[in-house]
């Protein structure tokens, strides 16, 4: 047997090694099972307490306007809901297909659903699957609607509040929203050009084109 092995040329020996390794690989099957997840419970609970994992809608709006490209905004709702309306620059990955997506583990990922519940679930799934930087859009799409698309100002607001509202108004108009002033229960749309009813059916703003650019360019 030993004699037989020595008779082989180097190429044949290497081929034999490759064959053996290939055969063992056949028995191993999949090298890493992406459905099996490991959790560092303490680390997880710590990061929730610190509140570092949340991003406010105002901050996000600011990033979108400034065209910051270092994050990926993920819409967790169904494709139908996504097509009806989505936050500009977002990509649609329904929560059930999150682990099979193209998201990279070193990407900065911001998730949002209708409210915080789905995002919290998604956050947990991604965190436990070893995604490094996952953030929740605080309040989800509801907060986006209330604070960015249809911000409201009370008629009896103080000067300070009014000044603050002016800033919000500009952001809101940028995203095609309609800021409103509330007096005695009825809301008036501030900007007359947009003839939207009190809580108008939101229409998708013109997509800004490509989803958030990938951080690192690669290829050969």
């Amino acid at each position: 047997m030993k004699n037989l092995f020595e008779k082989l040329t180097i190429a044949q020996k290497l081929a034999l090694v490759a064959f053996v390794l290939g055969f063992i690989a056949l028995l191993i099957g999949n090298p890493n099972n992406s459905n099996k997840i490991t959790i560092n419970a303490k680390e997880l609970s710590l990061s929730t307490i610190k509140d570092h994992d949340k991003i406010n809608v105002m901050t996000l709006a600011d990033w979108i306007i400034k065209e910051k490209g270092d994050y990926t905004l993920v819409d967790l709702r169904s494709e139908k809901e996504f097509n009806e309306y989505n936050i500009p620059t977002s990509i649609n990955i329904p929560i059930e297909s999150l682990l099979n997506s193209d998201l990279m583990r070193n990407q900065k990922i911001i998730v949002y659903g209708i409210d915080d519940v789905t995002s919290a679930q998604a956050w947990f799934i991604l965190k436990s699957a070893n995604y490094k930087a996952v953030y929740i859009l605080n309040g989800g799409l509801n907060a986006w609607k209330n604070e960015i698309l249809f911000p409201k100002l009370d008629v009896n607001a103080t000067e300070e509040q009014k000044a603050e509202f002016e800033k919000v108004k500009q952001i809101s108009l940028h995203f095609g929203g309609s800021p409103q002033i509330i007096s005695g229960g009825t809301a008036t749309v501030v900007n007359q050009e947009i003839k939207a009813p009190t809580t108008p059916k939101i229409s998708a703003p013109v997509s800004t084109g490509k989803p958030a650019a990938k951080k690192k360019k690669e290829g050969c």
Binding site: A11, L14, A15, A18, F19, L21, G22, F23, A25, L26, L27, I28, G29, N30, P31, N32, S34, D102, M104, R105, N106, N130, K216, E218, G219, C220
Partner: protein, 199 residues
Amino acid sequence: MMPYYKFDYFGFDFSLVIAFVIGIGFGFALERGGFGNARILAAQFYFTNMRVLKVMFSAIVTAMIGLFYFAWIGWLDLSLIYIGDTYLVPQIVGGFILGVGFTIGGYCPGTSFVSASTGRKDGIVFILGILFGIFVFGEIFPLIEDFYYSTNLGRATLPDALGLPYGMVVFLVVLMAIGAFALAGWGEKVMSKKNWSRC
């Protein structure tokens, strides 16, 4: 855990240094393998010298087995390995054009640089041809942009496409490689007897 770049062991600038070192090694290996010689490369297309096939398949099998076992041991996160998107039809057309150029010129882009760096004139001319081709491509790109981005399959891999476990694909590719080596060895003898080649 690998890949080091994705886990931020070093930044973009240093990654260029590493790419440079790997590039030197790659070029050296190609040159020592005889890939700086257009006659050897072109002979592949006349089946008189199967060195290209052997070297390429050896590289594929080595890398594949290495990646598989590294991932299995836990040194490497396979999901972080960059895989370019597959644009099926444009890439088939592109591959055909590259093949034609390869057969005519005797080099692929990488080996032409290897050849030029050892001072071969045909390699230098080939590089000029590459630059001209890049220029033409850039100029006509607006016309072919739609085609260029058509039939996008995304991150396509064999295990996904065939629905097989990774290990099974590894084994099949190894079998395929060993079969190809045996066939190449036999084919070289037959073909060189027939003396089809003009090289």
